[in-house]
């Protein structure tokens, strides 16, 4: 069984190739090549879902990407489940499970359908007017209620097990759409020798030829011509033909996003294939051959299951071999729908009536209807559809009034005419223009290098489409530089020419009525809602759209926009172009997160940077923290230790014995050249020309606005060579900042900058025994205090490999920073560790480093500063040269706000209760009993338990901080208020003697 409504001998599917799937638990049989929609219709099922707002029964409206109604939950297995899949697009595969959505307890009896009866309370804009009062009810009642009711479908809970691919592609001509126009254009461009990519969203090429069976091209049946042309194109080396591939986004400079659905139609999943492939195409020329979308008629109860677009009815019949009913009425304002009646009638289906709201349809289709014996009522309208879960009748009346005549039907095909698909043209930021004669928006002014052809360009006649397409194909190929090949000529004809079309509400759904005549099925927007929006004062189409949510569902109003616009224009008493069209945005149809995120998930989401010593740290039980992309050893817990205990031990050990620390992440920039010192003079606040080779200096870098940007120690290795260090997180931007000034403001300076962050591994050895630890390993450098005092640098060897050895300290202890080429990092670390460990030294991590530097009042740029601190605010005015004529920030520092009294300054804070550790970020006030909102003086920037001080310590930004030394301030927390005393920033070894040990 392949479905009761399948007509033998009709359609293009092979009857022997069946696939079984379930719909709401019921097992059904489909044919290979069916969409979920065609398979359901073949089994006589029209009712497939409940609508978003009113929970009205809904059926299948279209046969394509524009489907607003038939949104289903489709799964392959537990992890591969996707809600809101358009039944008209998803192909059936054997074993597929399909569930309807937005209904409870069942599709036929849905409690939410109660909303339909309450609809007077759910008028457009009700969200904005209801739920306003009382305020407290929002959290308790309204929001939970709205959240439960809102949204369609249920989000999958399991991680997506599939993988997705991505590729960049370049071509001369990208053709989007492979109907008659697209194929002709691609053929012409390819024959001219251009590199062509052509894509189509359908599994097979052909576009409108899927339903249009009266077309002859090049002497062949249209569909056969299309398939033959596709084969010919696919066989050409210069052509890439992609089916099941949607051109979803047209971006800047002819950059177009395509998504190719690779496995969603396959019964047997090939794990080596990506589920989808994202194509990021840069085309010299783009040809838009997007076709057109049929509009529905706007009349009372036009959403009943069984009512669908005429072209969809033809598609199901002519392509899938499925009759959408046994008694099918037609209601139209356009000749094209007549052909649906003809096709059905010839296939043996009863067509009781064609209702045409026009007085004068095309002569040719009228004559054919007469010949086939189909009753045609011109100048009539369907004023109401009967039936609930499926249409069972239509009431037809003469336009302008009169008694209604009822026809029994089980399906109704409708057409209000065709809307050119200008979506991608509009995304390219081209401006559409309104063609009054045909009542449609067409491409007007182009902003990018593209051309629209065929139906999306308003070209209706087949031969005209072919000629336009061939010309466009050749023109773009030549413009892109193609020089080969022969010209292509093709002839084509259609059985009937078409006329007609209308936009807006049909007879019986006009301004004097309150019937439910839907324009936006997915968001349940009726004609009357648009009128209400206008009455409520929305005069811009953008406001009307947002007030009614017309066109704001995931179908983006492919069917509803023109109707909404026409009804708004009528209500406003304006012409359509005066009301304007809303802008089309990417994506054309929904794109999965999988395709967009692609490989950037899990470990590939963001690269992790690891130091050369990382493996040793891991092996020695380090916990790690993320600093930018770096994984830094955070602390080394021994068995039974928590973080607090481990850090306290590490802090004590460093000051009592020594510690070894991996500082490899430190940013490093080699500044070289005859003008290197002069350049650093400009980049840092300090003076550098008086720094002797072999010596180091702490430098502060500002932006020109005078605020601290970065800091670090700079060592001078030679007259013309400096080893600059930056903060770990600041390295790339400092490099960019330096390059910017060097290239654009000081290009006369002879300086070369090289990032060397990853070239050097840096091992800090800090503490009283630091010298003793490294001394035997070092060659060629005298480590004595006299020869190598604090803030020295020398080149030599350690463990036999070259080193740049710094004597410097971020702990306040005697300290060395051993720079060795990165490849030797771990070996040298291990050699140092082999000496350090027996002496009782420890390896320590970033947390201990933070505590030790805070004990000494050394700031961390980005933690204790926030981009609004001057050097003086940070207590570093000693590092700002008073003599230099210029440095970056020199003028910014003199700005009135930067020199005025009462600025926030960095100070120390000591809690009155030494055991209390403040929270970083906590606010500081002078009087905790003042009324709220309190006047806040600043906040805590760094706060730790200091094992070495035996108490908590903190740094804070406090207004007029240095004036307040000794004052008591307060830190109000939610559960208590903490009293603190303002202190200086040095908590340990205030004299600094240990540095010189």
């Amino acid at each position: 069984m392949m479905g009761a409504n399948r007509i033998p001998g009709v359609g293009r599917l092979t009857p022997a190739r069946t696939a079984r799937f379930t719909f709401d638990g019921r097992t059904l049989t489909a044919l290979e090549g069916d969409t979920v929609a065609s398979a359901l219709l073949a089994n006589g099922i029209h009712l497939v879902g409940r609508s978003f707002k009113y929970h009205r029964p809904r059926g299948i409206l279209s046969a394509g990407a524009e489907e607003p109604n038939a949104l289903l939950d489709v799964s392959r297995d537990a992890a591969r489940r996707q809600p809101n899949v358009r039944a008209t697009v998803q192909e059936v595969f054997d074993g597929m499970k399909v569930e309807s959505q937005n209904r409870w307890p069942s599709l036929a009896f849905d409690v939410g359908g109660f909303n339909d009866l309450l609809s007077p309370f759910f008028a457009a804009g009700f969200y904005y007017k209801t739920f306003m009062w009382p305020k407290a009810a929002w959290h308790a009642i309204y929001e939970p209620f709205i959240r439960r009711a809102a949204g369609l479908g249920v989000t999958p809970t399991e991680a997506d097990p599939d993988h997705y691919a991505s590729r960049y592609a370049h071509c001369d001509v990208l053709v989007i759409g492979a109907g008659v126009a697209g194929l002709s254009a691609a053929l012409a461009a390819a024959k001219a020798g251009a590199k062509v990519i052509i894509c189509d969203e359908q599994p097979e090429v052909g576009g409108a030829l899927r339903y249009e069976n009266g077309t002859t091209i090049d002497g062949k049946d249209g569909w056969d011509w299309a398939q033959d042309t596709a084969k010919a194109l696919a066989a050409m080396d210069n052509v890439t033909l992609l089916t099941r591939t949607t051109g979803f986004g047209y971006y800047n400079h002819n950059f177009v996003g395509l998504v190719e659905r690779v496995t969603d139609h396959l019964a047997a999943l090939d794990k080596s294939l990506p589920r989808e492939r994202l194509w990021q195409v840069r085309a010299k020329k783009v040809i838009l051959a997007n076709g057109q979308i049929e509009r529905h008629m706007v009349f009372a109860n036009n959403d009943r299951p069984g009512i669908m677009l005429a072209s969809a009815g033809r598609t199901y019949l002519n392509h899938f071999g499925v009759a959408v009913g046994s008694k099918v009425g037609v209601y139209t304002a356009h000749d094209s729908a007549y052909e649906a009646a003809f096709d059905l009638k010839r296939a043996g289906v009863s067509v009781p009536v064609i209702v045409d709201c026009r007085e004068n349809p095309g002569e040719a289709v009228l004559a054919e209807a007469r010949k086939l014996g189909i009753e045609v009522l011109t100048g009539h309208s369907v004023i109401k559809a009967g039936g609930k879960l499926r249409v069972n009748s239509i009431s037809v009346a003469r336009n302008g009034g009169g008694s209604a005549r009822k026809f029994a039907v089980d399906a109704l095909l409708v057409s209000a005419g065709w809307t050119p698909s200008v979506h991608l043209f509009s995304q390219s930021r081209g401006k559409v223009k309104f063609d009054a004669a045909t009542q449609r928006f067409l491409p007007g002014t182009y902003l990018q290098d593209c051309l629209s052809i065929g139906a999306c360009n308003g070209t209706d006649d087949l031969q005209a489409t072919i000629d336009e397409a061939l010309a466009a194909g050749e023109l773009t190929a030549r413009a892109a530089g193609a020089e080969g090949g022969a010209q292509v000529a093709l002839s084509g004809e259609n059985r009937f020419g078409w006329t007609g079309g209308m936009i807006g509400a049909a007879e019986g759904a006009g301004p004097d009525t309150t019937v439910k005549a839907f324009i936006d099925f997915q968001h349940d927007v009726c004609a009357k809602d648009i009128r209400l929006a206008v009455r409520e004062g929305m005069h811009s189409i953008e406001h009307i759209k947002r007030f009614t949510t017309n066109g704001m569902a995931s179908d983006q109003g492919k069917l509803s926009n023109m109707h909404g616009l026409a009804i708004a224009a009528e209500a406003l008493g304006k012409d359509i172009p005066q009301v304007g069209l809303t802008t089309f945005r990417q994506p054309y149809t929904p794109v999965t997160f999988g395709a967009i995120v692609n490989h950037s998930r899990g470990a590939l989401f963001d690269p992790a940077r690891k130091t050369p010593i990382h493996a040793w740290e891991e092996a020695h039980g380090a916990e790690f923290e993320d600093v930018g992309n770096w994984k830094r050893a955070w602390f080394y817990p021994r068995s039974g230790e928590d973080m607090h205990e481990a850090v306290a031990r590490e802090c004590k050990t460093v000051r009592d014995v020594a510690g070894v620390f991996d500082a490899s992440t430190l940013g490093k920039i080699e500044v070289v050249g005859p003008d290197a010192a002069q350049f650093l003079n400009l980049m840092y606040t300090n003076a550098w020309d008086n720094l002797k080779p072999g010596r180091c200096r702490y430098g502060i870098m500002l932006r020109d606005d005078g605020f601290v940007y970065d800091d670090g120690v700079v060592g001078r290795l030679a007259e013309d060579r400096f080893h600059v260090t930056t903060t770990t997180g600041g390295a790339p931007r400092v490099m960019n900042h330096m390059e910017d000034y060097l290239q654009t403001e000081f290009p006369h300076l002879k300086v070369w900058l090289t990032s060397t962050t990853e070239q050097w591994a840096v091992i800090a050895v800090q503490g009283p025994k630091a010298r003793e630890i490294i001394a035997p390993l070092v060659e060629g450098i005298d480590l004595s205090n006299e020869a190598f005092p604090h803030m020295s640098v020398a080149e030599g060897k350690i463990c036999g490999v070259p080193t740049r050895l710094f004597r410097m300290s971020f702990t306040g202890e005697l300290g060395f920073e051993v720079n060795v080429p990165a490849d030797y990092g771990q070996a040298v670390w291990e050699a140092i560790w082999a000496r350090a460990e027996p002496m009782g030294a420890c390896a320590y991590g970033t947390e201990t480093m933070h505590v030790l530097r805070a004990e000494k009042g050394y700031i961390i740029v980005g933690q204790d500063t926030d981009g609004t601190l001057t050097p003086d605010d940070a207590g570093l005015s000693w590092a700002v040269s008073k003599k230099k004529p210029d440095f970056v920030g020199i003028r910014g520092l003199k700005r009135p706000d930067l020199v005025k009294d009462g600025r926030k300054q960095l100070v120390g804070l000591l809690t009155k209760d030494p055991k209390v550790v403040l929270e970083e970020g906590a606010q500081i006030v002078a009087d905790p009993n003042q009324p709220k909102p309190m006047t806040m003086l600043g906040h805590v920037t760094s706060s730790y338990w200091s094992a070495n001080c035996g108490r908590s310590i903190a740094l804070a930004m406090v207004a007029g901080g240095r004036e307040r030394l000794g004052q008591t301030l307060y830190v109000p927390m939610t559960d208590r208020t903490i009293a603190v005393e303002v202190s200086d920033m040095v908590f340990f070894d205030k004299e600094g003697g240990r540095l010189h040990g």
């Binding site: 800047n252 390059e739 910017d740 290239q743």
Partner: protein
């Protein structure tokens, strides 16, 4: 995604390789230490943010690393031209005129 011609590499490359760097042709005053507050405000803070033609700086950061200048339309994102840092600012009327000629040729 923009396609940007690097005047140093002499190639069109994807925007991914570049980083924008704000308005072009705003020279840091040579006597910056001595300028008035108003002059500093003008230099450091005030920008036109035009609708249409803008002269701006880009850096080919993931390419040659050079800073260069571009004339771009902020509405259409069309690049009229790019040129090396230090080269004179192209004449606005020339740019707009040549655009009009191109438009007429279409």
């Amino acid at each position: 995604m923009l396609l940007i011609y690097c005047p140093y590499c002499e190639e069109e490359r994807s925007e991914l390789e570049f980083r924008g760097a704000g308005d072009a042709h705003i020279a840091r005053p040579e006597n910056i230490a001595d300028i008035t507050d108003e002059e500093f405000e003008e230099y450091f803070f005030l920008r036109q943010n035009p609708k249409g033609l803008i002269f701006e700086r880009w850096r080919h950061i993931h390419g040659c690393g050079r800073f260069f200048n571009a004339a771009r339309d902020t509405v259409s994102d069309r690049f009229y031209t790019t040129y090396k840092a230090g080269e004179p600012k192209p004449d606005v009327s020339d740019i707009l005129q040549s655009e009009q000629n191109k438009g007429a040729a279409k």
